[in-house]
């Protein structure tokens, strides 16, 4: 599969890199997470969300 064909795939091929597992339980962007939690506390989720 060439690069063009790879780019056509919506779901990308992801190479699993075990060295990235060190980030699994680490919050790399704590400020953003805080903003997200603040938003969820104040605004919550949209009423129109799809229920599965």
């Amino acid at each position: 599969m060439n690069i063009k064909e790879l780019n056509k795939r919506k779901v990308p091929i992801v190479r699993i890199d075990k060295s990235l597992n060190k980030y699994t339980n680490v919050v790399l962007f704590p400020d953003k997470l805080e903003k997200a939690n603040e938003m969820l506390r104040k605004v919550g989720l949209p009423k129109q969300v799809l229920s599965r």
Partner: protein, 148 residues
């Protein structure tokens, strides 16, 4: 999206992804992370540059590596990969600055006709949430995968 993008590496759980931006400023390692929030199934999406020397991650830096579209297309690809594994996930994203949030809005607007086949996108306003519309400013975005 049929756009050029970078090759991705991910951790076992597909919650953290890495790719390398290539441009006039050289090779810049980027990390994308989906982090659980206080609400079940809602994840925060953030990405930034990894400093080669210190290893620290910075989501405020402006790389100016001339590849912002390719970077955004790559980040979008991580959303496909993540929601393939976690189809019930809601993903919240906002920029580290107003101008960066605006950049995300412009990116969504540009490819809205393509991504709205696969995702429902909401925009955060003062009043709450609206279905994403072009030419509207939002504080942040919430994304939900369709077709599951």
């Amino acid at each position: 999206m049929n756009l050029p993008r970078y090759q991705l590496a991910g951790n076992d759980k597909l919650t953290t992804f890495e790719f390398v931006s290539e441009g006039p400023k050289g090779r810049i390692q980027k990390l994308v992370q989906f982090t659980s929030t206080n609400l079940k199934d809602v994840y925060n999406l953030a990405f930034g540059d990894k400093d080669k020397v210190t290893g620290k991650i910075d989501d405020t830096i402006i790389s100016n590596n001339g590849d912002s579209e390719k970077v955004l297309a790559t980040v979008t690809a991580t959303i496909y990969a993540f929601t393939d594994k976690y189809p019930d996930a809601f993903i919240y994203a906002t920029g580290s600055t107003k101008s960066r949030t605006r950049l995300y809005r412009m990116g969504i607007t540009k490819y809205l006709s393509e991504v709205e086949n696969d995702f429902i996108i909401f925009g955060e306003t003062k009043e709450g949430w609206d279905i994403f519309e072009k030419d509207t400013n939002y504080f942040g975005f919430l994304i939900q995968r369709k077709n599951y």
